[in-house]
Symmetry: C2
Subunit: 190 residues, 2 copies
C-alpha cells in the first residue's frame, strides 16, 4: 500500500468513528482528545489529518451525508412507482435513524438544532446538507403527488423524522416507529 | 422588601436570563461564567442561588415550561370549540417559538435533542417536560377528533414544531410559518 492510500484509509477510519461519536455526543462534543483515544491514535496523529475541531466537524457532517445517500437514497432507484418511492424513502430514512451504523441518531439533524444560532462554517455545512435533503424530499413529493403541497409535505416529513428521534431516544417509546409510519401515511394521503 | 423576597426576585431574574441564553447556546452552553456576566453578578453570587451547572440547567427547563404554559396553554381556556382549540394551541405554539421572550427557540425541544443520549437528571427533566407536552397534545387531539389517531397527530405536531425551528433558524426560510400552518391543516384534517 502506498503512503497516500494508507493516509486515506486512516482518514476514512477517523471519519467513521467521528460520525458515530457525533451521533451520540453532538458535534459540539466531537473533540480531538476523546476521538483519538477511541481510535488508539495520538492527538498529534489525529491533528495530522484534521487541523482543527471545526474542520473535523465539517467533514464529519459530509461523511454522514454520504452514508445517508448510500443507505437511504441510492437503493430507491429500484422502486419504479412514484408514490411507493416516497414511502420507501421515508421508511428507509426512519430505519437508518433507528438501526444504522450510527449509535446515536443522525448527526445532521442534531447539528441543525445545535448550530442553528451559532454562525460559522459548521452552521453553513449543516444548513447546506439540510437544504439538500429538503430539495430531495420536495422532488419525491412532487413526483408522488403532482396535485399536492410538496413544501408542506417536506416540512411534515422532516419534522416526523426529528420527533421520531426524540420519541425513540429521549422518551424510549417502543411504539415510536409504528406511530411515525401511521403519521406519515396520514400526511402523505392528505 | 425582605431578604427572602429579594433573593426570590434575583433567582427569578437569573432564570429568565438563563432561559434566554439556553435558547441560543443550548443547555450545554449554559455555563455559570457567561450567565453571571450577562446579569452583572459575580460567579459566587450566582453560585449562591444555584449550586451547580446541572441544578441551573434543570431549573431553566422548568422555567421554560412555566413560560410555555403561561403564553400558550392558559389562554386556550377561552376557546370553546375543540377543533378550534387544537388549531389555536398549535398556532400559539409556533408564535411562541418565533416571537417569544426567547431569542433562540425553545430550550426544551433543543434539550430533547441535545440530551437524548446523555443519561442523568437533565435528560430526565427534558423527558418529563416533553412527555407532559405529548400528553397535552394527545388530549387536545382526542377531543378535536374522537375518531382520529391522536398519537400520530401528536407525533406530527411535535415534529412540525421542530422542523419549523430548523427551517426558520437554520435555513432562514421566510415562508416557514405559512408552510408549517398548511402542513398542520393537512395533518389535522387527515
Amino acid at each position: 500500500m502506498t503512503d497516500l492510500a494508507k493516509g486515506d484509509r486512516t482518514r476514512s477510519r477517523i471519519l467513521d468513528e467521528a460520525v458515530d461519536l457525533a451521533s451520540v455526543q453532538g458535534l459540539g462534543g466531537l473533540t480531538i482528545g476523546p476521538l483519538a483515544e477511541r481510535l488508539g491514535l495520538s492527538k498529534s496523529g489525529l491533528f495530522a489529518h484534521f487541523q482543527s475541531k471545526e474542520a473535523l466537524q465539517i467533514e464529519t457532517l459530509d461523511r454522514a451525508a454520504t452514508l445517508f445517500r448510500q443507505d437511504v437514497t441510492e437503493p430507491l432507484r429500484a422502486v419504479a412507482d412514484r408514490r411507493e418511492r416516497l414511502r420507501a424513502f421515508f421508511e428507509r430514512w426512519i430505519a437508518w435513524l433507528d438501526d444504522s451504523r450510527l449509535s446515536g441518531g443522525c448527526p445532521i439533524l442534531a447539528a441543525a438544532v445545535e448550530f442553528d444560532d451559532v454562525p460559522g462554517p459548521v452552521h453553513d455545512t449543516a444548513a447546506r446538507h439540510l437544504a439538500e435533503l429538503q430539495r430531495l424530499i420536495v422532488k419525491f413529493a412532487r413526483a408522488a403527488r403532482p396535485d399536492g403541497d410538496p413544501d408542506a409535505l417536506a416540512a411534515a416529513m422532516i419534522g416526523l423524522a426529528m420527533s421520531h428521534l426524540v420519541r425513540t431516544r429521549l422518551l424510549g417509546d417502543r411504539q415510536a416507529r409504528a406511530v411515525t409510519m401511521r403519521a406519515f401515511d396520514a400526511v402523505a394521503a392528505s
